[in-house]
Symmetry: C5
Subunit: 154 residues, 5 copies
Amino acid sequence: MPTIGIADTTFARCNMGAAAVDELKQHINAKLIRVTVPGIKDLPVAAKKLIEEQNCDIVMALGMPGSKPQDKTCAHEASTGIIAAQLMTNKHIIEVFVHEDEGRDDKELSFLMDSRTREHAKNVVKMLQSPEQMIKEAGTGQREGFADAKPLGR
Amino acid sequence: MPTIGIADTTFARCNMGAAAVDELKQHINAKLIRVTVPGIKDLPVAAKKLIEEQNCDIVMALGMPGSKPQDKTCAHEASTGIIAAQLMTNKHIIEVFVHEDEGRDDKELSFLMDSRTREHAKNVVKMLQSPEQMIKEAGTGQREGFADAKPLGR
Amino acid sequence: MPTIGIADTTFARCNMGAAAVDELKQHINAKLIRVTVPGIKDLPVAAKKLIEEQNCDIVMALGMPGSKPQDKTCAHEASTGIIAAQLMTNKHIIEVFVHEDEGRDDKELSFLMDSRTREHAKNVVKMLQSPEQMIKEAGTGQREGFADAKPLGR
Amino acid sequence: MPTIGIADTTFARCNMGAAAVDELKQHINAKLIRVTVPGIKDLPVAAKKLIEEQNCDIVMALGMPGSKPQDKTCAHEASTGIIAAQLMTNKHIIEVFVHEDEGRDDKELSFLMDSRTREHAKNVVKMLQSPEQMIKEAGTGQREGFADAKPLGR
Amino acid sequence: MPTIGIADTTFARCNMGAAAVDELKQHINAKLIRVTVPGIKDLPVAAKKLIEEQNCDIVMALGMPGSKPQDKTCAHEASTGIIAAQLMTNKHIIEVFVHEDEGRDDKELSFLMDSRTREHAKNVVKMLQSPEQMIKEAGTGQREGFADAKPLGR
């Protein structure tokens, strides 16, 4: 049985961690370990600790970067750290970030945070259980949260 | 008894380290170790030394980036280093940065530096003593220093 | 017989991994190992795992960054991670990124994704089998996907 | 007796290394080891070599980034590397950069390069000999080269 | 006898590697090892492999970043990687980049690529054979390729 880590933040405006737990439970029999940190810049080490101290096979790092320029910089720093944490552990950390200005209003933002989290939870399940299914979907323009993009004809 | 490191700078325009010590003492019985460096770019290694040479369980890295474009770059470099230091030690370093231009005037800036430091000191206490309380606050739009954001309905 | 890793994404709008496999098979007798991840930020660790867990001698990391500013940041983060993964393994990871806005329309974009992948597949073959041929082409303005640049006279 | 490393560049337009040596000699009995490299991007490894191969306890990294946008990028890369070098060695490397456009004219630029170097040399002495003095100056708005900033009242 | 690595690219529009070899041969009795990679982002690991697998004492990393914004980002990523490679090996890697838009026309660009490479080759020789000469030139406004800058009077 795989162990999946879920790290989210108190800064986000909806409970992405709960959405991840709910979706994962519907698709996989796994041990789930959850942790919550203040903001997205705390996610890289939180994810690494889940991997190295809690033996997680994969981690979801969930966050909602704010809309100010400074918040964009924070998101960049967090993403860079999440990639570094993966390279140090040889484990995938699936980053699920929804920028506060991606939704036109609170309702769309809330929808996006929930749906992107759930679609990436399904990616996590596929990566753990059926990597060959991922290869079948290569280059098909998958998008998480919004509608998929149109694949290009040849 | 946990050991908490506090690193701040001579560059900042108010004593963030003293505010952190004062707030921590009100909420936790811990050994506090303080160090002061010239500027925010000196914080990453200062925090790492607190962890590795002084056995700190967690560190607060306190700074006030200036308002010039060049200062924004410094803040980005410092933040990147603080994240790297965490990944190298598997310990949290809670970054508390208040940009000099976040306050409309000196009074608001001073308020912000004090209140953000104190709110993050409370985060540190929760992370050490009651991580389950952090999970309860997941996605509730917590902000440190300013008013919290509105959680999104579903 | 060398082992070549091929990592691509479900986000891309055409099957770059299949193009790489097809081109490599025409030019080299090698073991090919393919993996598909959600997006370009998942490529650095995917490539590192191909090297360290699957013994790949070289890896192609194939992706199509989107056209929004945020996508450009993602591409930068992915590239930084791909370079770090190379430094940690002492193996080349040939990054083949085609930005969604590099093509004037879907047709050109599709052509570019296919041709750049195939030209870099040929680079991979040369790097493995005839590095002296690479030296012969030094400074000749090679471009992958578009027409080569004009070498400068002396 | 501590060992202090001093790394500067041939690119800079005045001899920052000589100013550092002169100032340090007035304040501390230390072994000084000096090295000069072409430009600021050569400073990170120069500083790390001073620490690891010459046993320096602390290093001053002195440079004058140019005024073009490309030079700003170089400065960012050098600073990032200097922070990384500190994290890899657990030693402070005090970066003293004076951007060529910080001075209104050559005279002010020259003054700034000299005075900032000397003030940071004093920081180095304090960090080595009286870290408790640094704590006393926490949050007092210290600036190196220009006049100090006004501390904020409470 | 020192071993000097030379890494360049097929992307560049003139043969920087050949210029480096020619200049080095005029000034030093050294073993020269050359490698050519597709683009500048392949240089960091190429340089690291020259150091760790071919025992180079120092490496020249030669490239011509393109003039588009995306090319500037590539150059930044390559430079960051080159600095990281140095920190991981404690060896200098002298980066010689000439941006395609630094020359007003093809003739000046070609001149610049040749002259900057040759001047940095001389730096490499000095760093290997007479580091004290580098210290003598500290702060003298040395520029590679263009005319030197004016040293500042005191």
